[in-house]
Each structure stands twice: as structure tokens, then as C-alpha cells.
Amino acid sequence: MHIHAYEKLWLAASILLILLLIGSVTYGAVGPGVAMVADSEQPIDAQGLDEDERFSEPRVEQVGENQYAAYVVAYQFGFEPSPIVVPEDSTVTFYVTSRDVIHGFEVAGTNANTMIVPGEVSEITVQTDGAEEYGLICNEYCGAGHHVMEGKVHVVSQAEFEARNSGGDDA
């Protein structure tokens, strides 16, 4: 089979591009450590969330020094807790599940983004910066009221976080 010299050159350049792209994704995983949402969490009974230790009361709690866990439930058409209040300059792991259909969890303007599939728990860990209010969007179609499904993620100062939590009032 005759392959033109320019064609060979193009082929080599194409393969180089492909290897570079795979390399860049690999670097993203092992260098900056961007982990994928995966199968780290066990499946869960989507219709039995009320009896679940973590999701019967969706909340944010401290699990280590400057480390927090946020248990979030998505449903047609909202998120609990609302808003999700987390402290600044901390490491927050979101555990998100759905009580009905497939939803999305996207903190607008950031790369905190995951699918929410009923029967599964999505785990994503993020680093918070300074205090700021973020919009929380369901980015997967979930029914006729999909467009009203909206939440908030409030990143607040440590002091405010403690005040809110000890006050017992989430809002």
C-alpha cells in the first residue's frame, strides 16, 4: 500500500497529538490529583433514605482537622440542605445522592460537578477558598420542574460556620 510522505508525516503528528492528550489527562490525575467520581461509595436504597444514618438528615459536619463532610440529598425539585454552608479554606467532601430520578450537582462557575444517580452516592472532594456564595444547579433534566431546581453553597468564615452550627439554625 502506497502512503504519501506527507501523509506519513501527518499520521505521525496525529499520533503525537493523541499521546499528548492522554498524557495531559494522566498528568491531571497524578500531578494536581484530579480524582474522578467513581465507585468508592456503596450502593444505597434510594427509597429508604429516611432510615439512612447519613442522608436522613442532610447536613455538613466536621470529620477531621479542617475537613468536612457534606451529606446532600437531591430530589424533584431541590437540594437538601439548602443552603449548604461550609467553612472557607477547608477541604470539603460532598456525598450526594438522589431520592427519585437522575439529577446533576454543579456548583456554578467551578469544576465541582457530578451526576447524581438514585441508588448510588457520588463522592467529590473540593478545596474551598475565601467566603463566597455560589449557585448550585441541577444540570441534568429531571422532570417538568427541572428549571426551578436550584440550591446554594455558602462558603463562610470559620467563625460564622461555628456560629451557624452551634445556633442550630441552618438558614
Binding site: 502512503i3 430520578v101 447524581i116 456564595e133 444540570n139 433534566y141 428549571h147
Partner: protein
């Protein structure tokens, strides 16, 4: 010269029955295109809040109709028409039995009508039927059983179509035992081999899980499993849309440019690569799914990146073939030859602009495929921005452009106005440039896809590349131009159908510069390639599917049904079938009238 042209028979002169089928398939395709375009303009203006003529809760019915009519009916009906033309033309023999051919056409039309009725019923609350599940129909959102049943019937029709072409090829093979498979037939057969593998998964998902579930025979399904089976089909289906465009770029575009295809063997290699690689990549649509291990996602990512190779090779071959054409026409210089191309021909300019946009779509696709940067844009409007460049332009604009070239040959009627045709393809390009660019930009801000009202009460989007509102205006203008372009296309075609029949519209396709004899025999060994493709699919999917079933069970971990169709189902089915039968009868009569 004119003597010779007049002596040459056109496709319809040689194969009148086949030409009739091709016309019917293309008209079905364009009927879906018009419906899809109407829903498209409603949706564009609604989403951007320029004009909201429907309640936002109905937006999702519109979106389902736009998606299904565009990417299932428009694309696949065009494909079956084009492939029938390509097989018959390149083998230079009629189909074995056109009764079979009309049967699969009728089956596909019936299936699509069933699905379409189920979707459109969503606009009428009194009908107690809806399928507001979008193109992806993710469980546990549930559609009316008619929706799933129609899809199954449609896919079965496409399988028979493939068998029809294989059978015709085998008949040709007996008559020409020692010849290489003609290039166009090779492309059709390889594409159909891919389609059988890919569509088996969605057929299994619908027949084993979704249809019984919608009929109330099983209580629940495993959402991750049906979702994974959908994407097993959902990625290769994009190549099913694209392969007819590739067939046109490889075999027709060089001729229109005044030249010949650069390399026949490389065209075959490219199609074989698509057969091998387009299925074991579907998990890249599920990078952000819980319940699927990171390793499976990584494998899918590497396969996806290698899938760039056949498209990059195509870019080279197509540009080289066009450049050859330009130089044959007297073009010179490093880039000066570009001015010696037939830019006044709508079929040429349309396909070239489609190819240009496909390059842009390829780049945004690399971002989608990049597993970790995908976090930024997953399920944002960036994604529809991407696929409106690929299926929405590379495929759709190529189909429309090719129609200006192929329609005269299958009807003996010259195009009503080639000037309007040229204007139409340019309007599409400009409209899509505006709309797609703004969609990509909004996606970077985090604006979600698939929503009636992307503006939220509680927060504003960050400013990037212009504000949210400004980009909305670009999307609305772009979408409007696309609608205008579609109307121009259809009007031009309808007026063409009113033209008197003439002779002398035949076009022949020259052989490649580097012909098939240059290609190793093994390239034509379909059994071998299908075998390897199956092995790759098993390698990519056996473990993930086993893991998913192991985690959630075949029938899902305690997931409900939204909404449930169980009770009203039998009544609704009976209620739906009665008017359907009469509508079908009328539609068939109408179509037969139009085609004949």
C-alpha cells in the same frame, strides 16, 4: 461533449425503483428536519427568553421532539436513502428484491411515527400519554410504552435495511468473484457492521428492561445499567450519523472540486478504524457517574483519544483531494489554489463549510474527552454547542449540500435555484457560528444544558467572553438564522420537485488516484474486522457491566418510577393505536402520491 453527457443515463434512468425509494427516504428525512427546526426555533427563543410561547414545563416535550426528530429521524432516514443510492450506484446493479426494501422503509416509518406520537402527545394533557424523557431516556424517568416500542420497531427496520444491502452485495459478489468491494459499498457495509454491534445494546436495554417496566411487568430498573447500555449505543450512533457525511466527503466532494479521491486504501483504513473504535468508548459520557470505577473511565478515555485518528486522517485526505482538484483546475501557489475551487456551487461550499466546522467541533470534543477538564463543562450548554458543530453542521449541512448534487440524479429534475442553495448553506454556517460559539462560552460560565430557564433567582453567572445576556442574544440570532436556512432549503427542494423532468443530469464518480488495488486484501475481510471489534467491545464493557449489575442488581437498587404508566397503559395503547392506524394510512397514501 454535451452529446456524451446526454447519452449518459442518470441514476433514476438506470434504477427507477431504487431512485423512488431513495427519494422517499430523503423526503422522510426532510420532513423530520422541518419538524425538528420548528421545535428548534421555539426552544432557542424560549431558553434565551426572547419569546416564550409555551409554558416552561412543555419545554421538555419540545426538547425531546427536537432531539429525537433531528438525530434519529432526520439523520437515519437520510442515511438509508444515501446508502441505498451508494450500494446500487457503486455495484451498478439493482437491489435483489425491492419488496424487502419497501418493507424496511415502511417498518422504519411506522416505528418513528409511534415514537413521534408518544412524544407529541405530551402537549395534550387530555391524552394521558407523554414521553418527556429527552433523546437519552434515562430511567427512572419513564416514557409511555409507545415511545420505546416505536424506537424498537425503527431500529429493527434499520437492521433489515442493512441485511438488504448485504444481500445485494453478496449477489454482486457471485457475479464478480475476483473484484475488490467498491469503495462506497465497503463504507456502507462497515458502517452497518458497526451499527449492528452498537444498536444491539440499546435494543437489549429497551426490550429487557425499559419496555417491560413501562408496561408494568417489572417494578424497577437499574438506572446505571440502562444508562450504560444507552451510551454503549449512544457514542457509536454519532458515527452512524457521521459516516454518511464521510462517504460524501471521500467519494463525492473530490469530484465536485474537480479532482479525485487521494487514496482509496486510506479511506478503507479510516472506516475500519471507526468500526473498531467507536463502540468501546461510550463510558466517556459517564465520566461523572458514581458507581463506575475510575479505571474503566480511564480506558474509555484512551480509546476515545485514539478515535481522533481516523478523523485526523480524513482531514488530510479530504483537503489533499480538494487541493488536487483545484490544481487540476489550474490552481497554483501555497494557498492560491483555494481561489480555484467551485465556491459558487452550493454542494461544494456547503460541504467545505461543514468540514471546517467539524474541525472546530473536533477541538471542543477533545476537551469533552479530557476526563478531568470535563468537570468544567459536563452537562453545561458547552456540550450542545459541541454537537451542533458535529451532527448539527458537519452532518446536517453536508446532507443538505449533498442534496443539491444528488437530488437531480435521482429525479431528473434540476435544482430550482442553486443561488438560493448557496445562500442557504452560508446562512447555516453563519447561524451556527454565532449560536455554537455563544453556547461554548456560556458553558464555560457553568450555564447548564437541557433547561427551560437557565437564569436562576439566587445567583448570577460570572462574566466571561461577554455576559450571559449578550451571549443569549447571539444564540437567539444564530438559532433564527438556522431556522431561516432550513426553510430556504425545504422551499428550494419543494420548488425543485415542481420542475419538469429533463435529461443530462447524470454525474459519474472518478476512481481514486491511488486505487483499491493498492490496498491490502485483508482490508476487505469484514469478518476479521467485526471479530476484532467484538473483542474490543467485550474488553471495554464486560467488566464494567458485570460490576454495575453486581452493585445494583439487574433490576436496580430500590428505585421508583416517574411518572408511572402502569395503570392507564392498556387503555392508552388502545386509544393511541386507533387514530394512529388511520393517520398512518393517510400518510402512506400522501407519500406514495408525492414520490410517484
Amino acid at each position: 461533449m454535451s452529446q456524451a453527457i446526454e447519452a449518459e443515463q442518470s441514476f433514476v434512468d438506470k434504477f427507477p425503483e431504487e431512485a423512488r425509494l431513495v427519494r422517499a427516504a430523503l423526503l422522510s428525512s426532510f420532513f423530520a428536519l422541518v419538524l425538528g427546526a420548528i421545535f428548534g426555533i421555539v426552544q432557542t427563543l424560549h431558553r434565551t427568553d426572547v419569546a416564550r410561547i409555551i409554558p416552561s414545563t412543555d419545554y421538555y416535550t419540545v426538547l425531546t421532539a427536537h432531539g429525537v426528530f433531528m438525530v434519529i429521524s432526520f439523520t437515519i432516514f437520510f442515511l438509508v436513502g444515501l446508502f441505498t443510492w451508494a450500494v446500487v450506484r457503486s455495484l451498478d446493479r439493482p437491489l435483489v428484491n425491492t419488496k424487502i426494501t419497501w418493507t424496511w422503509y415502511a417498518i422504519m416509518a411506522t416505528g418513528m411515527t409511534m415514537t413521534g406520537v408518544a412524544i407529541l402527545a405530551g402537549f395534550f394533557p387530555a391524552l394521558d400519554m407523554s414521553a418527556d424523557v429527552l433523546f437519552t431516556f434515562y430511567a427512572p424517568l419513564q416514557a409511555h410504552p409507545l415511545f420505546y416500542a416505536g424506537l424498537t420497531v425503527f431500529i429493527v427496520g434499520s437492521w433489515i435495511a442493512g441485511a438488504d444491502w448485504f444481500r445485494t452485495f453478496l449477489a454482486w459478489k457471485r457475479e464478480h468473484p475476483d473484484e475488490r468491494i467498491p469503495l462506497q459499498t465497503f463504507m456502507v457495509l462497515v458502517t452497518m457492521a458497526m451499527w449492528y454491534i452498537a444498536s444491539s445494546a440499546v435494543a437489549a436495554s429497551v426490550l429487557l428492561f425499559l419496555l417491560p417496566w413501562s408496561l408494568g411487568l417489572i417494578d424497577q430498573v437499574n438506572p446505571t445499567l440502562t444508562r450504560t447500555l444507552f451510551w454503549f449505543f449512544g457514542h457509536p450512533v454519532v458515527y452512524f450519523w457521521l459516516m454518511p457525511a464521510y462517504l460524501l466527503w471521500y467519494t463525492v466532494l473530490p469530484k465536485i472540486a474537480g479532482g479525485r479521491l487521494f487514496s482509496d486504501p486510506l479511506a478503507r483504513v479510516v472506516f475500519v478504524l471507526f468500526l473498531l473504535l467507536s463502540t468501546p468508548v461510550g463510558i466517556h459520557h459517564q465520566y461523572l457517574d458514581p458507581g463506575i470505577a475510575e479505571g474503566f473511565k480511564f480506558i474509555s478515555m484512551t480509546n476515545t483519544m485514539f478515535l481522533l485518528l481516523p478523523s485526523l486522517l480524513t482531514a488530510f485526505t479530504v483537503v489533499a483531494s480538494v487541493e488536487y482538484g483545484a490544481r487540476q483546475r489550474g490552481g497554483t501557489g501555497l494557498l492560491g489554489w483555494l481561489t480555484d475551487l467551485p465556491w459558487r456551487k452550493p454542494e461544494f461550499t456547503g460541504m467545505m463549510l461543514a468540514g471546517l466546522m467539524f474541525a472546530a467541533g473536533g477541538f471542543s470534543g477533545m476537551v469533552n474527552a479530557g476526563m478531568n477538564i470535563n468537570y468544567m463543562i459536563h452537562n453545561t450548554i458547552w456540550v450542545p454547542g459541541h454537537f451542533h458543530l458535529t451532527v448539527g453542521t458537519a452532518v446536517a449541512l453536508t446532507f443538505m449540500a449533498a442534496t443539491y448534487w444528488i437530488w437531480p440524479q435521482i429525479s431528473n429534475k434540476p435544482i430550482y435555484s442553486r443561488t438560493i442553495g448557496l445562500f442557504q448553506v452560508v446562512v447555516w454556517f453563519v447561524g451556527m457560528a454565532l449560536m455554537s460559539n455563544a453556547m461554548h462560552a456560556q458553558g464555560m460560565m457553568g450555564v447548564p444544558r437541557r433547561t427551560a430557564e437557565p437564569e436562576y433567582a439566587g445567583f448570577d453567572y460570572p462574566l466571561m467572553f461577554g455576559g450571559f445576556e449578550e451571549l443569549n442574544v447571539q444564540i437567539a440570532i444564530g438559532g433564527t438564522l438556522l431556522f431561516v436556512s432550513t426553510i430556504l432549503f425545504i422551499s428550494n427542494l419543494v420548488l425543485t420537485m415542481g420542475n419538469p423532468r429533463v435529461s443530462g443530469l447524470a454525474e459519474s464518480l472518478p476512481p481514486a488516484i491511488s486505487g483499491p488495488d493498492d490496498a491490502p486484501r485483508v482490508l476487505d475481510s469484514l469478518r476479521l474486522w467485526v471479530g476484532i471489534a467484538l473483542v474490543l467491545v467485550v474488553l471495554a464493557y464486560a467488566l464494567p457491566l458485570a460490576a454495575i449489575i453486581n452493585r445494583g442488581g439487574l433490576l436496580g437498587p430500590g428505585v421508583g418510577t416517574y411518572p408511572a404508566w402502569v395503570t392507564p397503559v392498556l387503555d392508552a395503547l388502545a386509544g393511541a393505536m386507533t387514530p394512529l392506524v388511520s393517520v398512518l394510512g393517510k400518510a402512506t397514501a400522501l407519500l406514495v402520491g408525492v414520490v410517484a
